[in-house]
């Protein structure tokens, strides 16, 4: 069971990493992912604890209600991302990163002080749609597979190619007639939706939700997933998210040294692989070696 619940957390890590990866795919360093993750979590926590009609007949929380939460959380996050995206995405590079950190911080302070969010204690006693971690693992990995599929499709799609063009040279891309503002906004909105959907599942999985789930620390952790795994193709962030989430738990047998080892891995990763663990070149080479008899 503990392995299954670790699988769930690894899935969350990979999903959040993909949410950071998408804006990065068109050259936008956005750290807003934890903000949307928290929005998704609060939507789930509030709907499931404050709206009795959703809890069904008492025997477990119905899956249809979970689906409803997902359906509500996605447009809420998309709407916030749409409204904020336009002005925020005018900024570039480090200024965009700072603006998105500010967004995360504003959301955190709001959640701490608004009456309905339960303040610093947050919302607890969130009902369970699944009997054990197995159900969560299935739901998380199905969502992860869907998002991976979307990212894989992007490489062949017009939108994906436009994103790659903007990443390489935005000015040149605009000269070619690519509506760069729209493309960046689309990536930002998709990223927000992924984070919010992850938040919905995470709120149920954790049994409790509070403002601490998305803060500056979470921004840095999710960025580390991408830096560690690589930001050139989608397999990188997925691997980064899975490995960095799992490592502190897998190192438990080491005892007191485990966080030191974990820190070493995070430090050595970018030093030895500055582009991240997975790059298209390394993948191609791997395939060649595999194909050779």
């Amino acid at each position: 069971m503990s392995d299954l619940s670790l699988l769930v957390q690894m899935g969350f890590g990979a999903l959040l990493a993909l949410s950071v990866y998408l804006p990065l795919r068109c050259g936008q360093l956005s750290l807003a992912t934890p903000g949307f993750y928290v929005i998704g979590g609060y939507v789930a926590a509030l709907l499931s604890t404050r709206w009795p009609a959703l809890s069904g007949d008492g025997a477990g929380y119905p899956l249809t209600s979970l689906a409803l939460e997902l359906v509500v959380a996605a447009p809420v996050a998309a709407a916030v991302a749409l409204v904020l995206g336009r002005p925020v995405l005018q900024l570039r590079g480090i200024y965009l990163a700072i603006a998105t950190i500010a967004l995360v911080e504003i959301l955190r302070v709001l959640n701490l002080n608004l009456a309905w969010s339960g303040g610093a204690v947050g919302i607890f006693g969130i009902p369970q749609p699944f009997a054990g971690p197995g159900g969560y693992a299935l739901a998380t990995w199905v969502l992860l597979a869907l998002v991976c599929w979307l990212c894989a499709r992007l490489e062949a799609m017009r939108l994906g190619r436009a994103m790659a063009a903007i990443r390489d040279d935005e000015l040149a891309a605009r000269c070619m007639g690519i509506p760069s503002a729209d493309v960046k906004l689309t990536a930002f909105v998709i990223s927000a939706v992924i984070a919010a959907l992850t938040g919905v599942l995470a709120a149920h999985f954790l049994n409790t939700w509070n403002a601490r789930q998305g803060g500056f620390d979470a921004s840095i952790t999710t960025l580390a997933f991408v830096v560690f795994g690589g930001s050139r193709i989608w397999l990188g962030p997925v691997l980064g998210g899975l490995v960095i989430t799992a490592l502190p738990e897998l190192l438990r047998p080491v005892g007191d040294l485990r966080l030191i080892l974990f820190g070493l891995v995070i430090l050595l990763g970018p030093i030895l692989f500055p582009q991240g663990l997975i790059t298209p070149e390394r993948l191609a080479r791997l395939q060649q070696t595999l194909r050779r008899p």
């Binding site: 303040g119 204690v121 049994n207």
Partner: protein
């Protein structure tokens, strides 16, 4: 690699996870297996040994170690064969996910009971897991409202702030009856501080002292000049603080440095000698209500204090250590009683956990905290609470909690 190939990888990832989930669902249930007694009865503990809650976790770890040593002493002294406990300690970090994972890990390892987690916020995440899987939990330090109400398997030995906090306000008014204007400070991004300040503010209002100002700070703040100046403008003669050890210690120091001379009442977060090095001589005179007093004169407490002083070179044990000791003692004594009535070796793991919970809640315990027992939903019933005043040595380096009559 083509896009088609990549999407095939994605499908394969999903299929592998589905397979894993399916396989795990049809394994044998650990709960039906007999209890593993080799090397002692397995008991788990989840404490915050890392993250910024580690100051609390370290205090608790010592408490568990001393309790182990104390039981070993008693086993050696008693010729009759007592049950041995096999304590497995895991780090719960400072966040919800780590604590939940540690709970899962220990439950899978087949422990009959769990001690922990350190923070109330972690308890809201991890305790429901233990409840669903029918594992007794004894919380040594969760003071938030609603912890035992998480379920029938959740109990605590840490009295909630609702019982303790008002006592120090009453004592302050008794010492200085002329108090008229109270100011309140609390860390608004901390779960413990925000719940405790509600209780403090209610206690003040009940005494007819509606706070003249309520100032909000943050857990990671170092500088409180703004909040202090706007509070001092209201010329308060009592200041009530709910904060953790580090920020609270700095707040007191700056209050005194900026010229506040009145009474100060602080909450449970500062109930540790670790505040002495922070506010130094300015700690002198602050009032605090405690669930544990090292000066309690009972045989158990004398032995506990002696063990602690031997381990820590004469220092005075803090409340967190005493409460962790108590949690271990409660589990160990309940197990001994259960074993006498119904030998554990004959029970399956699931039955042992259930029987232990019933035994645990039914018992009376003579602990360093004094006599304690439990209500039917797992809330601790403690006979004595104390109000102490900090008394610093003239050098401002060390001090003590002086018990007020």
């Amino acid at each position: 690699m083509q896009a088609g190939q990549r999407s095939r990888i994605a499908v394969a990832l999903g299929a592998a996870a589905a397979l894993a989930a399916g396989l795990a669902a049809c394994g044998p249930r650990a709960e039906d297996q007999p209890l593993q007694l080799k090397g002692g009865v397995p008991v788990g503990a989840v404490l915050s040994l890392t993250s910024n809650a580690n100051a609390y976790g370290q205090d608790q770890q010592i408490g568990l170690k001393l309790a182990q040593a104390w039981f070993q002493q008693r086993r050696n002294a008693n010729s009759q064969k007592a049950l041995e406990l096999n304590l497995r300690l895991e780090d719960g970090g400072g966040d919800e996910a780590t604590a939940s994972q540690a709970f899962n890990l220990l439950i899978d390892a087949g422990v009959v009971a769990l001690i922990g987690p350190t923070l109330s916020q972690q308890a809201f995440a991890a305790d429901p897991i233990a409840q669903r899987r029918g594992v007794p939990v004894v919380a040594p330090s969760n003071t938030a409202t609603g912890i035992p109400q998480i379920g029938s398997f959740i109990s605590r030995v840490s009295a909630p702030s609702t019982e303790i906090a008002p006592l120090s306000i009453a004592k302050a008014l008794q010492l200085t009856p002329s108090i008229k204007r109270a100011a309140v400070f609390y860390a608004h991004d901390d779960a413990y501080s925000t719940s405790e300040t509600v209780i403090f503010q209610k206690a003040l209002t009940d005494k007819g002292l509606k706070p003249v100002t309520v100032q909000r700070t943050q857990l990671n703040d170092q500088d409180f000049q703004n909040q202090i100046t706007s509070a001092l403008r209201e010329s308060p003669d009592l200041i009530v603080i709910s904060a953790q050890a580090v920020d609270g210690g700095n707040l007191i120091r700056q209050l005194r440095e900026l010229g506040y001379r009145g009474a100060i009442v602080v909450g449970n977060g500062m109930n540790t000698p670790n505040i002495y090095p922070i506010c130094q001589r300015y700690c002198d005179g602050i009032l605090i209500a405690q669930a544990y007093s090292p000066e309690l004169d009972t045989p158990v407490n004398r032995e506990f204090v002696a063990l602690y002083q031997k381990a820590k070179g004469g220092a005075i044990p803090p409340q967190l250590t005493a409460q962790a000791f108590t949690a271990y003692q409660v589990v160990a004594e309940a197990l001994q009683r259960l074993n006498k009535r119904q030998p554990l070796a004959q029970l399956s793991l699931g039955e042992a956990r259930k029987a232990l919970m019933a035994e645990l809640l039914g018992g009376q315990y003579d602990t360093p905290l004094g006599e304690i027992s439990f209500t039917s939903d797992g809330e601790v019933v403690q006979q004595r609470f104390h109000v102490a005043q900090v008394q610093m040595q003239p050098d401002g380096r060390s001090g003590r909690f002086l018990l007020l009559p």
